[in-house]
Symmetry: C2
Subunit: 225 residues, 2 copies
């Protein structure tokens, strides 16, 4: 059988690209990472993800797969070793439920905590982010969402610790509190120190500067209107 | 082996409940349908879906599964006959991609076309709904998203024909145009006339009256502010 050709279109500061890289590393799959300029979208990106024109896109033997959660299901089905989803249907459903929750609920609200610059709107965003993170905590089944090892929902939510800490530092407000969310706080540490996951995360200072600049731009735009 | 006990918490006018019922019918699974009063949420709903407090919830031998797309994956994995997802990983990814698109993009924008009562906002919502439906059309692989038979993405998007037609009638504006979306229009008809799918859809007049009353309430609320 010919060797698999695996390419990943990514952007260094995209948490959704991290998710896919984690899955590839857990599986031990060799891949070529191709950084995409999102301000000047390449013909390759437009060709392989004409619907969303976004990263990540996995290209396996010339065929593209888009959407991070769809990609990790694809990876898990294509390369069987080191399974990411559990075998049991009920547990698979639970993992998919929390993965979807992390993407849809935490994704939007944590990002809003960074983007809302009006005082009142920001307070609302912070409140919502905290509530959603508190709910996310309910899904923890042990050390990880996947039980004793990192699984599907851990990868789907795996961006939360790093980016929550970055956003907390920029806005000067705690979103995840050790007192109110003790289990989630421990999970944050476990994820941030996991050998595979931490290797893929962007450098702290670079991510901080990038998002700080983004927020400052929003603040100056709001001030000038 | 003891007989499976399958219950479904639903609400008659929820398109996401329809999706799950279609999957159960395709599989030939017997189930007890339990109508939930969404204005006065039952302890059963709060117990089985404490995170979202929404329908549908499938309860299989006492264990709940929530989120319509997660439920149909669960059904497809638990009862193997009459598969809903294809076998090939690439085709599975494509089906999941379009299912997600239908839920996230079409769900919100088609619903907004009903809910936005301010003229300008409604025009914007209609434009967005049309664009998203046009994109949805790109995913058609033949007669259905699943090729020659109804599959995962057909079920996930299966509410679109009925509810788009209901909303078009209420707002007096066409969203899916036979000229601009010829393939999607044919798919609409195929879905609306499918023996299994049409059996589960609510009565046209009841759904029309229900949503008309909902929109009139929004209009009178907007007028009084």
């Amino acid at each position: 059988m010919a060797k698999d050709e695996v390419k990943l279109l990514g952007f260094w500061a995209s948490p959704f690209v991290n998710i896919v890289e984690w899955a590839l590393r857990i599986k031990g799959i060799e891949y070529e990472y191709i950084e995409v300029d999102l301000r000047n979208k390449s013909p390759m990106l437009l060709q392989y993800n004409p619907v969303h024109k976004k990263v990540p896109v996995l290209i396996h033997n010339g065929k593209p797969v888009a959407e991070s959660l769809v990609i990790i299901e694809y990876i898990d089905e294509t390369w069987k070793e080191n399974p990411i989803l559990p075998e049991d249907s009920q547990k698979r459903a639970t993992a998919r439920f929390w993965a979807k929750y992390a993407e849809e609920k935490c994704g939007v609200s944590v990002y809003n905590a960074l983007c809302k610059v009006d005082k009142e709107e920001q307070e609302k965003a912070v409140k919502e982010a905290r509530e959603n993170l508190k709910t996310l905590e309910m899904g923890l089944m042990g050390k990880f969402y996947g039980g004793e090892k990192i699984g599907f929902a851990d990868l789907a939510a795996g961006w939360v610790p790093f980016w929550t800490r970055i956003i907390e530092e920029i806005i000067g407000v705690k979103l995840v509190d050790e007192e109110n969310m003790p289990s989630l706080s421990v999970w944050f540490e476990d994820v941030l120190h996991d050998e595979i996951l931490k290797e893929i995360l962007p450098p702290w200072d670079k991510a901080l500067a990038h998002n700080k600049a983004f927020r400052e731009k929003l603040i100056s735009e709001a001030a000038s209107t």
